[in-house]
């Protein structure tokens, strides 16, 4: 077959017209979060369900594919028809590692604060073994994905790399490291929208003692003293409840105020409040109505301006049934 002669200007069309990636990590996350919503209903996605039905047939195919791929250790047969095109051993993707190597050389290292736990801010240093001079015009972004639920959150929004992140031969940025759920978390590190590496941590659960009451100006609040709390008569499952939120220590925060909730023992994170802080004082209040679907212990995760602020645990009462009421 005669392949025709390509015009010389074709060469210029081989590179895309844009000098930056146009499909952003944010879009990727949006897709993954939508995919997750499609998948909810069943704890496992419909894909995996189908696999178990055709497992036997799959196993045969897997052997063949494995022979070709040759480097996928310990894959379970049901994973075989995942239909994926993963570049590298899939199981190893989730193996905890706090260092990402590029060849022999450690490229990214993460140092989360000692006793990190779900629902609490531990703080984390991310060291890139690249001199600041090479990164000074770049931006860094870190996305975190929860293995068990598939939830994706922003660990570090796109942040311009600045002089203050410059150290001797490396560059370091800090983030909150406040993950909403216990379990395995993978952190994808992007420089200028391009993925450079990932790190995986096993995040333990924190305690589930309901947050205590404290007194402020003769008012009883529930929450974390002088951090945040609310005045209310508590949560009753399945009905709207009124709360007056108080924010203290963070101070002078403004912007969006979001409350996510997760029930003990589950991994579905639901957003129960999306509001806007109007003031900018050190002590702010915000009236709100929130509702939780089921009785039990729930952790409330509060985000201000998209950043983790604090968390607390509440006990949600079951609604009183009419006929039982005395």
């Amino acid at each position: 077959m005669s392949q025709d002669h390509k015009p010389h200007w074709y060469e210029q069309l081989q590179t895309p017209p844009f000098d930056q990636p146009m499909f952003t990590p944010e879009m990727e996350r949006a897709v993954l979060n939508r995919q997750q919503r499609v998948g909810t209903g069943n704890k496992r996605s419909p894909w995996l369900k189908r696999h178990s039905v055709i497992g036997a047939a799959a196993a045969a195919g897997v052997v063949l594919v494995l022979t070709i791929a040759g480097n996928v250790p310990g894959v379970n047969p049901f994973a075989g028809l995942g239909g994926g095109w993963i570049t590298g051993g899939a199981a190893s993707v989730w193996k905890p590692h706090s260092v990402y190597y590029e060849g022999e050389k450690p490229l990214i290292e993460a140092f989360p604060g000692g006793d990190f736990r779900a629902g609490q801010r531990a703080g984390c240093w991310w060291s890139l073994n690249v001199p600041y001079e090479q990164l000074k015009d770049s931006s860094i972004e870190i996305a975190a994905t929860h293995r068990q639920s598939g939830l994706t959150v922003t660990e570090l929004p796109p942040t311009a790399i600045s002089r203050s992140m410059s150290y001797d031969g490396f560059t370091r940025v800090a983030s909150d490291f406040a993950l909403p759920l216990p379990g395995t978390w993978k952190f994808d590190v992007y420089i200028d929208g391009q993925k450079r590496g990932d790190l995986v941590f096993e995040v333990p659960d924190s305690d589930w003692n309901a947050s205590p009451d404290f007194v402020y100006n003769d008012t009883v609040l529930t929450g974390n003293e002088m951090e945040m709390g609310f005045v209310s008569s508590g949560f009753t499952a399945g009905q709207p409840n009124k709360f007056l939120w108080h924010l203290f220590a963070g101070g002078e925060k403004s912007g969006s105020f979001r409350v996510d909730a997760v029930k003990k023992g589950t991994s579905d994170v639901i957003t129960i409040l999306n509001a806007e802080l109007s003031g900018s004082g050190l002590h702010q209040t915000l009236p709100s109505t929130m509702q939780l679907p089921e009785a039990g212990l729930w952790r409330l995760l509060v985000y201000v301006g998209g950043q983790f602020y604090d968390s607390m645990v509440v006990e949600v009462k079951a609604p009183v049934e009419e006929e039982n009421a005395e």
């Binding site: 949006a30 939508r34 995942g82 095109w85």
Partner: protein
């Protein structure tokens, strides 16, 4: 690792990883193709995300006769066609406008200016849609004629003749540009 070939030999542990991996390998290709077809950044943003959702939903219908890339580009094209229809986009570019100094509407030019596209890509974007799509599939994505025919659902001979015409138009419009530049 080669982006095209071996990727589909690998196994994803779960569909989510497969989706992530597909996006990792092809998201820019898909976004760019959506832009080449719609010439609209917002549309490309939406369509490219939709493409991966569709891929996730329909991966079982994907017969591995074509590469994942070709498959994703085909989904992209279908979504772009729907978008163009629903937005009543005029797909006609008159020959005259290509040779005139102002090659596109001023709003579109201004928009392309903001995107700081290289000149050659501007010429591509000014091609009528049916020439534009074959040209980028041939020149940018490096697909074979058979693959392009399969993707567009047209005969291979038609692909060849469209590519031929698309190249001629490109050359004419680039010559026009040169004449324009050499003018005092």
């Amino acid at each position: 690792m080669n982006m095209d070939g071996p990727a589909d030999l690998m196994i994803a542990e779960d569909p989510r990883l497969a989706l992530q991996s597909l996006m990792g390998s092809y998201a820019q290709d898909v976004w760019n193709f959506a832009f080449f077809l719609t010439k609209n950044k917002e549309a490309a943003d939406d369509i490219s995300q939709e493409v991966f959702m569709k891929a996730f939903m329909h991966w079982r219908g994907f017969e591995r006769r074509s590469s994942p890339k070709t498959w994703l580009l085909a989904i992209t094209r279908n979504l772009c066609r729907n978008w163009s229809k629903s937005h009543g986009v005029r797909r006609v570019v008159l020959m005259e406008t290509i040779f005139s100094e102002s090659t596109a509407s001023s709003a579109e030019n201004e928009y392309l200016d903001r995107l700081q596209l290289q000149t050659i890509w501007r010429h591509v974007l000014q091609l009528p849609a049916k020439y534009r799509e074959v040209l980028v599939l041939d020149a940018h994505y490096g697909l074979g004629y058979a693959e392009i025919a399969n993707l567009l659902g047209i005969a291979e001979g038609t692909v060849k003749s469209r590519i031929y015409r698309a190249r001629k138009r490109m050359e004419k419009s680039m010559e026009g540009e040169k004449r324009h530049e050499s003018r005092p």
